[in-house]
Subunit: 142 residues, 3 copies
């Protein structure tokens, strides 16, 4: 029988950086009891994003963060969207360059990530936020 | 009962910029009569793209546009793909950095966007074009 | 009847560049016998990615490659993730800026790409690799 199972995931952030959510997504897939199908991960924000990235060595994430810091200035002279602070417009650009949704196949009840992949929520704002992610599983429940 | 509902959305553009399609996607989800599921939005072009972005304050989109204009030169000396004009290769690079498909959960018949999110078609060419977007809804029809 | 059909696609690469997989994805959709639905293409790697891009004129892909080479240095002084060679950290950044998953509608058994679109695996490492892609089709089998 084909089923749909939707759940919400709230992630509390403590400033800019990556927060791994792989285990939380896998837990929702387990709850759905769906064996073969797909899981969509969707973030409901425009100053935070999603990224499937190297999860073994944290230096890869540090270097990516530094790359974005060099690429996207905090105080570009031309920024007009500035009322919410100097980290706001860069956060919108960072999310435009990364992901809002990812769709991952599910096989035998497992999200089929590669050996080095983790699912990360990428917080782009400097202060703490509560971020909401919708996880939607669709597929065959045995 | 699980159903699939596919529809086409045509967007006429008047040059480079963002065109909001949120209401048009929601209308197709309503027509599908699907309550719980997912909607995939897919653009059939390589010089226009999709982006879920801040939709409250248009200055955020203006600053993003300016960021891309600075990042991607119109007349890079190394460009060899130039027969269709100087805005053509930049349009391919811009679409490579943004999105071709987005998959959004549907809950109680609503696409579950966050408060500040809108779905935009991002036209990257200078002249008018008719752009085709496929909207595919899958899920439970009560 | 709604069905799920998952298959694996292995792509052998010979260094950095784009490898078209459109026909291979279409073949899996054909095998699934699904008429109306969606296909998710997912790459299980963090130093290679997916991209739906202009497939008619190869110069567009050459210019994109050159753009990334200029944007992302091979030997940034600040890179700390360097144990696997100087092409490793750039490969993670390139995949962060392109795609890990794409979801494409299927209509009458065809993946509904636009006239100029091809699905590419983008290898970002210099040496040969075997890359694994999961293709998951969901939809109505007549």
């Amino acid at each position: 029988m084909i089923c749909v199972y939707n759940a919400q995931l709230d992630v509390l952030t403590k400033g800019r950086g990556t927060y791994e959510i792989t285990e939380k997504v896998q837990k929702i897939v387990r709850e759905s009891q769906i064996g073969e199908g797909q899981v969509t991960v969707f973030i409901q924000h425009t100053s935070a994003s999603l990224l499937i990235f190297e999860n073994a060595d944290p230096t890869a994430r540090m270097d990516l963060e530094r790359f974005f810091r060099d690429l996207i200035p905090e105080d570009a002279e031309y920024f007009t969207h500035t009322t919410e602070g100097s980290d706001d417009m860069p956060s919108h650009i960072r999310m435009a360059l990364t992901r809002t949704s990812e769709c991952i196949p599910v096989i035998r009840g497992q999200i089929c990530l590669g050996s080095w992949q983790g699912i990360f929520m990428y917080e782009h704002r400097s202060f703490s936020h509560s971020r909401s992610i919708i996880v939607s599983v669709i597929g065959e429940r045995p």
